[in-house]
């Protein structure tokens, strides 16, 4: 079974690489063939040479440093940095050979990584638990950032209540999917809503998107006819109000205690249960359970990457459609778009709702991965602000850029968590004792990220990748795309509204 999982995992990792790198079908096919050949060989070696000296040798070599607790994390972080560098080359360079080099190089690195894990017997679970969690969360952020990209990057709608739409998705999905039996006794007071609906994940997921879209409809109706600042104020307001509701409507949301033990999609159908459980059937076919509990995250990663993939494809299609062109026209000059007969309010509303729907989907994914929601989910810093930084760092208006930005910024954000372990917990100073972990570390990290943002705003407003010049699906993208985007397109928020 390990082999099958390795397969699934590798393919899932290759997925973003493939779709980000190329648009041609034969390249995707070649990539898959490459994977099959490479991994077939690797697994053959693994199966045949079970217990050979090479394996023993590697195991002993690694066991010397295995005592070092952060080995898997450091290993993974290193790999991640190199992969990101590969992704960066892939996305920024137009030279086909360079891109292929980066693509293959990254894949080879992964092969080495997995081979090392397989041969040395360091449990892959331990190696991957950190990494898969990292990729899932970064992936959820990527979905969130894609949602913001259609609002801000395409249409110029200034939404700083991302946390609100994200949180609505998380809460709605949780309340619909949660199994009342999983709640502690006494939780959930009386009242009309004092129940959890125990529905399948898909119902919660769709409802999360609908609820988020509905919230956007309300906010948009009041503010989208006005200057951009009003929308900003209203979105930051709605996020705060939703947080208040989540904290105070105890019978609906359990208040500040939060809702624990949120079921995960297909968890009971995929994971080998501790005790005997009735067989899990789908459309009359029994599904064999084959995942260890710790391996479930791999399935979830595939799910998240699938959502990214769909959102990405949809947004790329939108960018090249007449609708997408109208959105950009509104962003560049709303009055001109209005003069050309476009119903700008309607277009803005549609873009706002579509973005919010994607954010709601991200919220649902988050809730079912973390398995816990509480009002902290509306946190303006780690939701709204970080997402904005991801968008601006990656390149406003560029879907590949924002995915890259999400992974890079989440890497920096979560990577700096290790500093917290290294730093002393408290510091004696002449002015008194300072609690480094609580008082200094978090704020300084935020300040550092803000400085990154302000520097980018001042010196490189188009972000790492910048906006692509796309007009239509009818035109080959490479004909239009110059080596570097021209400066006239550098300023995404070019709405001059007065």
């Amino acid at each position: 079974m390990d082999a099958a999982i390795l397969w699934a995992f590798t393919l899932s990792l290759a997925l973003p690489g493939i779709f980000l790198a190329v648009r041609k079908a034969w390249v995707i096919l070649a990539g898959i063939a490459f994977l099959i050949a490479g991994w077939g060989g690797l697994i053959a070696i693994y199966v045949v040479q079970n217990g050979v000296s090479l394996r023993e040798f590697l195991r002993q070599a690694l066991s010397v440093i295995e005592g070092f607790a952060y080995l898997p994390q450091i290993y993974s972080l290193l790999l991640m940095v190199v992969s990101l560098a590969g992704l960066w080359v892939l996305l920024t360079r137009t030279n086909r050979r360079t891109r292929w080099g980066a693509f293959v190089g990254t894949l080879l690195l992964w092969s080495f990584y997995l081979a090392a894990a397989a041969f040395t017997g360091v449990p892959p679970d331990r190696m991957f638990s950190f990494l898969s969690a990292f990729l899932i969360i970064a992936g959820i952020y990527a979905v969130l950032t894609l949602g913001l990209n259609i609002q801000w990057g395409y249409t110029g709608l200034f939404n700083i209540g991302v946390a609100g739409f994200f949180g609505v998705g998380a809460y709605v999905s949780t309340i619909l999917v949660q199994d009342p039996a999983k709640m502690a006794v006494g939780a959930g007071l009386e009242g009309f809503f004092a129940t959890y609906f125990n529905q399948p994940f898909l119902v919660g997921f769709v409802a999360a998107m609908a609820a988020s879209g509905l919230t956007a409809l309300v906010v948009g109706f009041a503010t989208l006819r006005l200057r951009a600042d009003y929308l900003a104020i209203a979105t930051i307001g709605i996020a705060e109000i939703l947080r208040l509701i989540a904290a105070n409507e105890q019978e609906l949301t359990e208040g500040n205690r939060g809702i624990p033990n949120i079921p995960q999609p297909l968890h009971e159908c995929l994971v080998i249960p501790v005790r005997e459980a009735p067989p899990c059937t789908l459309l009359g076919i029994e599904i064999p359970r084959f995942l260890e509990p710790a391996q479930y995250n791999w399935f979830y990663l595939v799910l998240v990457l699938g959502v990214i993939f769909l959102a990405f494809l949809a947004l790329e299609r939108i960018a090249r459609s007449p609708w997408g062109r109208s959105l950009r026209a509104i962003r560049e000059d709303e009055d001109a778009a209005l003069a050309l007969g476009k119903n700008t309010f309607r277009f803005k509303m549609q873009a706002f709702v579509v973005g919010a729907v994607i954010m709601g989907a991200a919220g649902s994914l988050w809730a079912h991965f973390v398995k816990f929601v509480d009002p902290q989910i509306f946190d303006a810093i780690s939701r709204t602000f970080l997402v904005w930084v991801m968008l601006i760092v990656g390149g406003t208006g560029n879907n590949r850029g924002v995915i890259l930005g999400a992974f890079i910024m989440w890497g920096i954000w979560s990577g700096t968590n290790f500093l917290n372990d290294v730093l002393p917990p408290t510091l004696e100073t002449p002015i008194g004792r300072i609690d480094v972990a609580a008082q200094l570390f978090g704020p300084i990290r935020i300040m550092a990220i803000v400085i990154i943002l302000e520097l980018i705003l001042l010196f490189r407003p188009r972000g790492l990748l910048g906006e692509e010049r796309v007009t239509s699906t009818m035109i080959e993208p490479k004909e239009l795309r110059p080596a570097s985007a021209p400066e006239s397109h550098s300023h995404p928020p070019a709405s001059k509204e007065d």
Partner: protein, 373 residues
């Protein structure tokens, strides 16, 4: 041409406000008390809202870091306050016995210190960030200010910690003011006394129709100083050369420049006035609520924006009016009038009023129309 319909809306809103006041005064239990509380909170909001509306009008962007400038000033004031409480008796031995006097003097010093701190940080941010983005689109400035808001909050957390803090002010006994026929002799009495009188009154049945309002000295000071500062600002805008220049700049930047007004100097003035008043508002919030936390600024920001939009964004007088309306409405609607509403929802009231206002009259009560789309 459009004025006919718009004016009806405007007068309808005025009517709603007046009706709400009448309803609160005569039909809500303890209504007058809550209205007075509302006016007090509204006068604090006023001080905060002025800065917001000035930067909006002159620099043409919604400054999301205003709430955090407010709380930064409040924390600087906190440090000055505790330092002065320790130092004043040493400097002036004759004050050693007068504890309350020391504390009041320290608060006055703290307000000055906090205002200087807030003005300093606001001018620094303007110099480092906003002045370089003057030619950018307004929304870039808004992003930058959103970032600066989080930066300032993190800075406050790093320097002063994340916990609750309080100013060096004693808990004070409220004075109560009772109006009505208190002794039942058919004549209208006006009565004021300290808490012991309130207790004495509690021993006897409370006379029908008596209106009781309690105020502590801190609350009186809040109300009076806020209103005095707002009046001073009005005089400043109306009669001084700088104030006139500021209004000219707000009306038309280019035209004002042509007449030789030094725009950068006026912009610095606007930042200084806004940040200084915000810091004083922060001190008042700390005194009235008892505590401040690094998140207080963000919490108040929503009410500030609601006040500004209600009054008409960009109009200082509108902001003052909006602040009063929001303050009264928050205090009147939550808890006393509609017991079902949790008092935590005060910001939600402000937000709902803001959304309603945007729907019926986006330019606010005193603002000028700038509807589009």
């Amino acid at each position: 041409m459009r004025s006919q319909r718009v004016d009806i809306v405007k007068w309808a809103i005025w009517g709603v406000i007046v009706l709400g006041l009448i309803w609160g005064l005569f039909f809500v239990k303890n209504g007058p008390q809550f209205i007075v509380n509302g006016i007090r909170f509204g006068s604090i909001l006023m001080l905060g809202a002025i800065g917001l509306t000035l930067t909006y009008r002159i620099l043409n962007f919604a400054n999301f870091s205003h709430g955090d400038i407010l709380i930064f000033g409040a924390y600087v004031a906190l440090t000055v306050d505790w330092w002065l409480v320790g130092q004043l008796p040493e400097w002036f031995p004759q004050l050693a016995e007068a504890d309350m006097a020391v504390r009041w003097l320290a608060i006055v010093g703290a307000m000055v210190g906090g205002a200087i701190g807030a003005i300093g940080i606001a001018l620094l941010i303007d110099k480092l960030i906003y002045s370089r983005l003057r030619r950018s689109a307004a929304v870039v400035l808004v992003i930058a200010s959103f970032g600066m808001a989080l930066f300032l909050r993190a800075l406050v957390q790093a320097i002063w910690g994340v916990g609750n803090q309080a100013y060096a002010m004693r808990t004070q006994l409220p004075t109560f003011y009772a109006f009505g026929d208190l002794d039942g002799d058919g004549r209208f009495d006006v009565f004021a006394g300290a808490l012991r009188d309130l207790i004495a009154l509690a021993g006897t049945p409370r006379p029908e129709g008596a209106v009781v309002i309690t105020m502590t000295p801190v609350q009186w000071v809040t109300l009076i100083v806020s209103l005095a500062l707002v009046t001073l600002l009005h005089l400043f805008l109306k009669y001084t050369k700088t104030g006139k220049a500021m209004r000219a700049l707000a009306d038309n930047m280019d035209l004002a420049r042509v007449t030789g007004i030094n725009a950068e100097r006026i912009i610095r003035w606007a930042w200084a006035i806004g940040a200084g008043l915000a810091a004083i508002a922060g001190v008042f919030i700390g005194l009235n609520w008892g505590i401040i936390t690094p998140n207080t600024g963000a919490l108040v920001l929503l009410s500030l924006f609601a006040a500004v939009i209600l009054g008409g964004i960009g109009s200082p007088y509108g902001a003052m009016l909006g602040a009063l309306v929001i303050g009264v409405a928050q205090n009147l609607l939550v808890a006393p009038a509609i017991p079902q509403i949790n008092s935590q929802y005060k910001p939600a009231i402000a937000f709902a009023m803001m959304i309603l206002m945007l729907l019926v009259r986006p330019q606010g009560l005193l603002g000028e129309a700038e509807r589009k789309g």
